[in-house]
Symmetry: C2
Subunit: 272 residues, 2 copies
């Protein structure tokens, strides 16, 4: 297991990996981050990213991460194997797999890169929302353990909070780890999957769903994440299209000061 | 090589694969789809998808595709190896690699699934643009061979066509293969990468760039693509954020009749 620090958090326990056979690592599913069925996908994604972050060969910081949720993950032990697919001067491409009983249950690819100061501009618009301390905290859902691991303040499109009048699949919320934890790439990855499924918001009812693939782009570098610290981030999520058994979700995560930290895109199976 | 049909097109030649060693396939870079340096990324993406489409084990239709452009692709031969990572009842997860001289130059992951009729809704809004035949065709760029493989009619944000006044990184265009070719998943994949780099539009100047990762979600099933046939599709692309050496691009591709066919998200390295 990775060394515990003074700031050790339930999330660090959940995504923690210890050396396994060969170059591989061993992890365990985390009861506190359990979803309705199986683990919260955000923690699976963060665990896969973590396997790259702790790899001795890694160069630079995460720029993109794509996670495939290939099969249900059973409670208990799993192994994770990360592999540098190609190392260039300033970028590195990664592949990593999560296995149970010798079969791939989830896998991911990622790009890490040396970030450097360049020309910059943000064309996405930071939404006009009240600050976090003016928005009520929503109670965790007792049947979904991982929801208690976050402090969530919904502006629209949340449990018991009406959908946006103009955009029926929109959710906006202030969110942070509960208890508070300084933001890093792993926790940001998990937060990018912490939006409730768009179809629940859009239809005002729950149907069976499961994310199949999730891509996150990291706009922030480690300095910007460090500056964010434990303050809540603003998450904005919406769907573009629902049909033929799948829907998509696009999300942005913003710093308290209005810097774009990450954008994230997923495709989700649904049954009706 | 795959069998040539009456409708055989330069694109089919470019993405064509013939059996190689073991389960692998062999392909060749295509001079007509050459970019400034190396092949047009859209054709590399379509070739990787094609390796899955022609696989005997494939079930269902593409739902998502993520391509990593890991290293420059040299002119000439390459091998492609597709692998079903996990096969479920209605979904299948794939991994595929493009190798040159034994090293991975590009790789991809994908989800294929049986599509079926379900509840449906489109929250993305089909933009208010003039029909294709009222928009001028832009001449291909002589220094970029692949641009001559498409008929492009820019509404805004194209070569010699002003950027949108409200959204400085926005491009909207009608686009189809040149000569016309019935739309399929492979050609739609290539079109999703046929937008000029957002930073060229945003800054009004060219800088060295290279896409590192590209994710495409397919909202259309094969019936909808078939109905589209050879008519031009509407592409809409914009960037959210530029900085620290990378920018992102999100795009939607719409049918002539206003059905969302695909949405696509990429992250691009740039130098300045």
């Amino acid at each position: 297991m990775q060394p515990k620090t003074a700031s050790w958090h339930t999330l660090d326990e959940a995504i923690g990996l210890s050396p396994g056979e060969g170059d591989g690592h061993i992890g365990f599913t985390s009861p506190p981050y359990q979803n309705m069925v199986g683990p919260f996908g955000g923690v699976t994604a963060a665990t896969l990213l973590n396997s790259i972050m702790i790899d001795q060969q890694r160069q630079g910081q995460p720029v993109s991460l794509t996670v495939h949720f290939a099969a249900p993950i059973e409670e208990g032990e799993f192994s994770v194997n990360a592999k540098a697919m190609r190392t260039n001067r300033s970028t590195q491409h990664w592949s990593t797999e999560l296995l149970q009983s010798g079969k791939v249950a989830a896998f991911a690819s990622a790009v890490t890169a040396r970030r450097r100061d360049t020309w910059e501009a943000t064309d996405a618009i930071f939404p006009d929302v009240p600050p976090a301390d003016e928005v009520s905290v929503v109670s965790a859902l007792s049947e979904i353990p991982w929801t208690a691991r976050y402090e969530m303040r919904f502006i629209d499109g949340g449990p018991g909070v009406a959908a946006n009048a103009e955009h029926p699949s929109l959710t906006r919320l202030w969110i942070r780890d509960e208890p508070a934890r300084p933001l890093d790439f792993q926790s940001l990855t998990a937060i990018c999957d912490a939006f409730f499924p768009r179809i629940f918001v859009r239809r005002g009812q729950r149907v069976p769903i499961g994310t199949v693939a999730l891509t996150t782009f990291f706009h922030a570098d480690s300095n910007l994440l460090q500056a964010q610290g434990t303050k809540p981030v603003l998450g904005v999520a919406r769907g573009l299209n629902f049909g033929k058994g799948f829907f998509d979700q696009s999300a942005e995560v913003w710093s308290t000061e209005g810097a774009l930290l990450a954008s994230s895109h997923q495709v989700v199976y649904f049954k009706d």
